[in-house]
Subunit: 267 residues, 2 copies
Amino acid sequence: MAAIVNGHAGGTIDPADRGLQYGDGLFETIAMRDGRARFLDWHLERLAEGARRLALPMPDTALLRNEIKRAWPRGRGVVKLILTRGVGERGYRPSPDPRVTRIVSGYAWPADIESRSLGDRLGICRTRIGRNAALAGIKHLNRLEQVLARAECDDARMDEGLMLDDREHAISGTMSNVFFRLDGGWVTPLMTESGVSGVMRRAFRFWAAEQGVAVEERDVPAAELTAASAMLVTNAVIGARPIRIFAGRALEVDPAVVRFKAWLETQ
Amino acid sequence: MAAIVNGHAGGTIDPADRGLQYGDGLFETIAMRDGRARFLDWHLERLAEGARRLALPMPDTALLRNEIKRAWPRGRGVVKLILTRGVGERGYRPSPDPRVTRIVSGYAWPADIESRSLGDRLGICRTRIGRNAALAGIKHLNRLEQVLARAECDDARMDEGLMLDDREHAISGTMSNVFFRLDGGWVTPLMTESGVSGVMRRAFRFWAAEQGVAVEERDVPAAELTAASAMLVTNAVIGARPIRIFAGRALEVDPAVVRFKAWLETQ
């Protein structure tokens, strides 16, 4: 389906848009079912936080909700929403009064998602993730690290790649957040120096808190992961996916993952 | 002047272009005079190196040279060339056979460049620059750090901002490379963990080597800079600009800078 650009279906992008020129913008990837966007309030909250951090004017959320629904009104699908700092002059300096570009695109639901959710293998990417507190946590458009890391997963070796930072701390998958079962509790890396604080990561923590399942957010040196009994990767489209094999070693599927997936079906 | 997109003047960008979606691409900013692009061979060499590092097919350079000239055929101007990994499916994974998008835009020469080159003040940005060897040195489209840092310079405090990494090492200006006069020699930061290895940086090093002026490339802790007697910032458009005031302290204009600027006028 054609993208909706500033409300105009089939619109194109000005080559001078700062989203293209510098990756100067944000995005959200949202699971849709029959016109309803899953965890939409949380997507919009994260978007607003990113806009605040980048000093980007946040569009009216009623307008965004409407365009998201327009982009995928029926059945199961995925909507990707991009906000950029709009068309600019040459040069990094942002305009004090930018006219934000909104790009809302609908995509068919990936048919093979459920079959891929069995037997998942997580490997460790060679591509490292840089650290910068100013950009950590938010879902901005500077994603070359993920592109390079994802390219490493395109072989028989692994389905998803775990990205480490330069301290050899685990941060996230190339397109997912990660949870590790360590010493009988769940642990997930801090998103304060790199990574994206995912909406499905929030959903798992929300569910876990309601269920009394402990999830600790802390630094996770990769060396600790040899002791993990279970692992979970999450993103807004795949939901929750238990990892069966990490770096060649078989893992358990923790009952909490099964229960969370069942709860997720009701959302 | 309208951008030339894949050879088509006035072309626009597909919202699904990976340059917009992920900053998945490269750029060059080139000084033009009467259809001649300054240091074009070096720009194309850096572009080819970036393409190799990102596994992006490098377009035919004769085609690029032609489009650059078309974008600014007469007088003084600036041409910005962008290459992206082209239109893609949703998801970070790059296509094994991408169709690269070429975007070539001409801009008028910034009229105030020479007046701004006097009395330049360099300050230190709060925004840090992240480290990632996989992306260091090349001029890729992930430039949010520079955007945030440049926004700090938009006041009476400084004309250009020096960016440090998380080790408090000096890396570059927000839109320039930097050279420091320390202990009677020139020093410039390594571009192996962050920063862009600029064409004008290469030009200064090339000229210095020909003139027997020593330039050392090494780690530069910011704490050393209190001892600098002179500083120089370079980029492809401004050329070379002596810094008069660094963090409130007056600096000398080194004779080498004057001589380099004179040489640059002949290029």
